[in-house]
Amino acid sequence: MKNKIKIQRAIHNLTQDDLAKKIRVSRQTINTMESGKYIPSTALALKMASVFGVSVEELFQLEEGD
């Protein structure tokens, strides 16, 4: 699964720590999600999408093999 968390973070000028506090996870978890090592739950994906004001589909895209 591909994601655009890092890009959206840059657009909204948020650090990993800022985003982590907004969605109540650790900064390390943001990092793990950005690198694609951890796929968040639907609830967390929706929370992130609402922080950025985009849809979940804009934030996460399926890859071949998913």
Partner: protein, 149 residues
Amino acid sequence: MKKLPLLPHAFQKLGFILFLPFLALGIASIGWDFEFPWLSYKVAHTFNQHIIDFDTQNLTDEIAAVGNIITMMLIAFSKEKTEDEAIQFFRLASLQWAVIVNYIVLIICILAIYGAGFLTVMMYNMFTILIIFNIRFRFVLFMHNKASV
């Protein structure tokens, strides 16, 4: 997602603090037959499956075993400082990993060790799932934290 029940973070510290004394007590009790003399009691135990017998037993090794299990459970099932769904995922994944590794090792021991030696294997096997789980989970958390520095 419905969160799994976990103890507050303070219990993890308590677990870490008490684990070493109980581990030392366990090793001393198994390795050198160490006993606290004031822990000898007359206890009931079943004898020949049906008859209940009373016997004087020293409870040092029992306390060490129970202490080791409880402290390892506290370390394993207390919340992390910032508990989130990624950490819950790592905890469950580590538990699965520990069960698989534990039973692979047990199968090897069943096939390779016989007689009285196997009783020793079973004794250690009471603790191995928790030991393997804790090592694996701490390692995964360490890598999780290290990766984002």
